[in-house]
Every structure is written in structure tokens, then in C-alpha cells.
């Protein structure tokens, strides 16, 4: 435990020192604030709470951005340290290889959580200060969005480690990470959509579609945030939410599995690796 905390603290210290934390937080805050003010303008005084719109636009942004940031900081966690030669020294210390991965994971996820909560929180705070009144349910949705965003980040940090512990050099890790990002964020949904159009509901029924969506963590995230009662009407997901709604807890559990499995596999692969 102590060792994991020491390694996590060092990751955070490094993140602060090389401005990763600052850059990520500023980027997320800037995007969140601009979406908040530009995005709520068209709603005018229609009944919808502006916060709901913010939740929709921020979560659409998160789906693209957070996986990319997470992969950027995680893809060379193992292979990069091996190439630089710092891993050999670290492993000569009383440190288990699993502890190295877990420590880095805790550190990287905390960095992401900090950036997300501060960056997006700035948007929420700005809304509050401008006196927009929102329902408690909207704040609940906003909170759930923050929490699930951090989880989505954690999923891709774990996937980044898995890539990093499998490949031989950093270039391969970077290329694979971009591939995974494209696959999960863009290609998967388009392919799924294409299949649905061709299939016309003959083979793929509601439950099968549900199962297919669990194959992609970004879809789990999308379902978590865009199908809430207040939100779905703006997100264009109302139709999907109507036909498939596994409920919040199964979705979060799905994200949890998407964190645990790649993380476990990366620990396994790193433990067997010869340096």
C-alpha cells in the first residue's frame, strides 16, 4: 500500500513538474467554459435548465478528449521507462511489479480526476455565479457526469498500460494507442450504425444491441450520461435510451470491468516480462 502511494505521489509530482496537470486542467476548463456560455445561448428561456445542456455538450466532448488525454499520459508508462532505463533501477528496489503499475495508475487517474473536476467544475461554478437556477436533478446529472468522466479516463489509462506493457518500443505504443482511440471513439459506433441500418432489426434485437454497447466503454459512458430523463431530449439519444436502458448501475459496473480487465492484464504481462 505504502509503496503504491509513494509511486503514485512521484507520478503526480512529475505531472505537476512537466505541466501535464496544468495543461490538461486549463484545456478542459477552457472548453467547458466556452461550451457553457456558447452552448446555453440558444436555449434562451425555454424550459430546459442550462445545466442539462452543459451536461450533454460536455459529455460529448469528454468522449473524444478524455480517452485521448488518458492514452497520451499512459501509453509510455511502462515501455517509456524501460527505454529510458529508469525501470531497471526502480525494480531493483523493494517494489513489486504489480505495485509499479498500480502506483502509476493511482497517480495518473488522480491527475485526470483533478483536471476533470477542476476544469468542468469551473463550468458548473460559472453557471451558479451567473444565477441560472437548476433543478437538483440536473446537478445530480452533472455530478454523475464528472464521476463517469473520471471512470472513462481510468478505462483508457488502463488500456494505455496494457499497450505499454505488451510492446517493445514507444513508437509502437503510440501508434497502437491512436488506433485504439480511433476504433473506440469513431469506428465502432459507425460500424454499429451501419450494421443496424443493414439489419433493419431482423437479427439485432434490443438485448443484443445492449450487449454490443458493453463492448465499447465510450458507449457505456454515453449511455450513462445522455439517457437521463432531462438530458435525453437534447442529446438525440432519446430513441436509443427508450429501446435500450440497462440502468445506471450495470453501466457503471461495465465501466468498472473495463478498468479492471486491462489493468489486470497489463500487470500480468509486465510481471512475465524480462527486462
Amino acid at each position: 500500500m505504502r509503496t503504491i502511494a509513494i509511486i503514485a505521489a512521484k507520478e503526480i509530482q512529475e505531472g505537476l513538474r512537466n505541466r501535464w496537470v496544468l495543461a490538461t486542467t486549463l484545456l478542459l476548463a477552457a472548453l467547458a467554459l466556452s461550451l457553457t456560455f456558447l452552448g446555453s445561448a440558444p436555449t434562451g428561456n425555454v424550459g430546459a435548465g442550462a445545466l442539462d445542456v452543459v451536461v450533454v455538450s460536455l459529455s460529448s466532448l469528454t468522449i473524444f478528449l478524455l480517452p485521448l488525454i488518458a492514452l497520451l499520459i499512459s501509453h509510455d508508462a511502462v515501455v517509456g521507462e524501460m527505454e529510458r532505463g529508469t525501470m531497471i533501477l526502480l525494480l531493483s528496489y523493494p517494489v513489486g511489479r504489480g505495485q509499479v503499475i498500480l502506483g502509476k495508475f493511482v497517480g495518473h487517474v488522480l491527475i485526470l480526476a483533478f483536471a476533470t473536476v477542476i476544469g468542468y467544475g469551473a463550468a458548473g461554478l460559472a453557471l451558479m455565479l451567473t444565477g441560472v437556477s437548476s433543478l437538483a436533478a440536473s446537478w445530480y446529472a452533472f455530478g454523475a457526469m464528472l464521476g463517469s468522466s473520471v471512470m472513462l479516463g481510468a478505462v483508457f489509462v488502463a488500456i494505455g498500460y496494457l499497450i505499454s506493457s505488451l510492446v517493445r518500443d514507444r513508437g509502437t505504443a503510440a501508434g497502437l494507442s491512436i488506433g485504439v482511440w480511433l476504433m473506440m471513439v469513431l469506428v465502432f459506433d459507425m460500424a454499429l450504425l451501419g450494421i443496424l441500418v443493414v439489419d433493419q432489426g431482423r437479427i439485432i434485437s434490443g438485448p443484443i444491441l445492449n450487449a454490443l454497447l458493453f463492448l465499447n466503454p465510450t458507449d457505456l459512458y454515453r449511455l450513462t450520461n445522455l439517457t437521463g430523463f432531462n438530458v435525453s431530449q437534447f442529446s438525440g439519444m432519446a430513441g436509443l435510451a427508450g429501446s435500450t436502458n440497462p440502468g445506471l448501475w450495470p453501466l457503471l459496473l461495465g465501466l468498472g470491468v473495463w478498468i479492471a480487465v486491462p489493468l489486470g492484464l497489463s500487470m500480468l504481462s509486465f510481471a512475465r516480462r524480462e527486462l
Binding site: Q13, R17, G85, T86, Y93, P94
Partner: protein
């Protein structure tokens, strides 16, 4: 005295390459051992095995009573390691880096500051490691290896990149640790540096332990001759007692004697002869022994 490091019948392969073949040795506490050999002779592989970074196909390795590859690592708190090309994260300062490693060994970071002083890094301790020269990184590497009074020190090419002054302090520190009962293993190419310091020499060649022992044991095994250079006062005829085997390549009179007994006999005779102006004796150096054991193996390999 029980051995702190035991390596017995170890084999290691990297695909088709047999990196280590049936290597066995013991390292004792309070002794400085030198591991010498070409690049690719298996020195670094041996050290990695002792650290548990890789696993051997056959054989058994014990470091402070534990199998280093078995995932037990309490022994590593008492182990210091300096890798061949030591690297640190460039974003942190020297002090922060040392504090991190101290915490991993469960030592209070403040107790590590004297080490920075010791390796001459105190003035640069609060600068980022990224700004350090190679010699300074090496000093920091040495400081981290010395954290927590290690009982076993494994040093891979430790003096490359060190200036002569620091080299001196480096060996002073090692002598202290050795006198304190630590096991020190240095892998190096700098044979002349190790010659006077190593109590125990391990010569590696192509994955095989070609020879091991103290310098005098190695000299005995190698049967390399002792060279006795004799300077005569005048250029008259060479006296009869100097008729033994000569080194034809060396200038002047260089006699070759097989062992210490013969050497003493020669010296007594030479000292009695008034024509002898000076006598210089050179026992085989580590360099020569190394070359000898390598050549010896060539036909067999």
C-alpha cells in the same frame, strides 16, 4: 563466513544465444569482487539475474537468502544497485529523486542528504536532473545505491564517466562499506583500477566463468611467468646465472621465472652480484591474466 550471494549452475538463454553457461560462484561479505569480461560476456546478464529482473533456465540464485526472481523482495532493502547507464526522470531535482528512492527503501529522506554531500552533489542537489552532466548523474546513481547501508552492492561499470577525483572518493566509499562487512561486486572494463582493490576476481568469457579466485590464485592457476628485469652496470658478458628463459621481445635483460620460489632464488643470486645495478619485478597483471584466460578458452569455445 556464509556467502551473501550464491550462484550455482546457472544457465540463461536469449533465444538462440546462450548468454550464461553453467556459471557458479559465491560472494562473501566484507570482500570486494571484480567481474571482468568483454562486452557481451554475460556480466550484465548475471547482475540482472541477481536482481531478479530476469529468470534463469537452470540453476539456483540466492541473494541474502532469497530467490530474487521469486517475487520476494525484503532482501532488496539491503541491496544497492548502480546500473550501467543510470537514468533518472529529468523533471525532478536530485534531492527529490533521492528522496523517492529513500522512501521506497523505507528510509527517512533526510538521512539521505549526507550521501549527496558525500558524492559531491550538494551544490547541485536542488537542480533538475535534466540539467546534470553524465558524471553528475553517475554521482546521483552512486548516492542512491548507497541508501540504507546496503549489505550487497552490485555496481555495473560504476566508474565510467567519473573524473579521477571522484573515482578516488568512490573507491574510498567502497572500502568503508567493505570494511563494514558489505559484499561488493563491481563489473568493469577498467582492469588496472580493480587490480589492487579486488580481493576476488571473476573472469567471464562468452557466458562461461573462465576463472575465479584471488589475484595470487589466478596467477598460480595461469602459470604465467613472473618477469624480473635486471639492469647490469656494464655491457660486458652476461653472467652465467642469467641464462634462464628470457623475454626476447623486451629490451634489456628480462628473465622469466615460473613461481615465487624460483624468483627468490634468482633474487638472492642477483643481489650478490656487484654488476647488478637494479632489479624490477612484475607479477602478471589483471590485464595479462584476463588475456591469458580468454585465449585459453578460445580453442574450446
Amino acid at each position: 563466513m556464509t556467502a551473501t550471494v550464491t550462484v550455482s549452475h546457472v544457465e540463461k538463454r536469449y533465444r538462440a544465444v546462450r548468454a550464461l553457461r553453467d556459471v557458479s560462484f559465491e560472494l562473501l561479505p566484507g570482500r570486494l569482487s571484480a567481474l571482468v569480461g568483454h562486452n557481451g560476456a554475460g556480466k550484465t546478464t548475471l547482475i540482472k539475474l541477481m536482481l531478479g529482473l530476469i529468470r534463469a533456465e537452470h540453476g539456483d540464485i540466492r541473494v541474502l537468502g532469497e530467490d530474487p526472481a521469486a517475487g520476494e523482495f525484503s532482501a532488496r532493502r539491503l541491496l544497492g544497485y548502480l546500473p550501467e547507464n543510470v537514468a533518472f526522470n529529468a523533471a525532478l531535482t536530485g534531492r527529490e529523486t533521492l528522496a523517492f528512492y529513500a522512501r521506497l527503501k523505507q528510509i527517512a529522506p533526510a538521512t539521505a542528504w549526507p550521501l549527496l554531500e558525500r558524492v559531491g552533489l550538494a551544490p547541485a542537489a536542488d537542480r533538475k536532473v535534466g540539467t546534470y552532466s553524465k558524471g553528475m548523474r553517475q554521482r546521483l546513481g552512486l548516492a542512491q545505491a548507497l541508501l540504507g547501508r546496503p549489505r550487497v552492492l552490485l555496481l555495473d561499470e560504476p566508474t565510467t564517466g567519473l573524473d579521477p577525483a571522484l573515482r578516488q572518493t568512490f573507491y574510498e566509499i567502497l572500502d568503508e562499506l567493505r570494511d563494514d562487512g558489505a559484499t561488493v561486486l563491481i563489473s568493469s572494463h577498467a582492469l588496472n583500477e580493480l587490480e589492487d582493490r579486488a580481493e576476488h576476481v571473476l573472469i567471464m568469457n562468452r557466458g562461461v566463468l573462465a576463472a575465479q579466485g584471488t589475484m595470487s590464485e589466478l596467477r598460480k592457476i595461469s602459470q604465467l611467468p613472473i618477469r624480473v628485469a635486471i639492469e647490469l652496470a656494464d655491457s660486458g658478458p652476461v653472467p652465467d646465472w642469467m641464462n634462464g628463459p628470457h623475454d626476447p621481445a623486451a629490451p634489456g635483460h628480462v628473465l622469466l621465472v615460473a613461481d615465487d620460489a624460483q624468483k627468490m632464488m634468482l633474487l638472492r643470486t642477483a643481489a650478490d652480484d656487484p654488476r647488478v645495478r637494479n632489479i624490477e619485478i612484475a607479477a602478471p597483471t589483471l590485464d595479462e591474466l584476463y588475456a591469458h584466460f580468454l585465449n585459453l578458452q578460445e580453442p574450446a569455445a
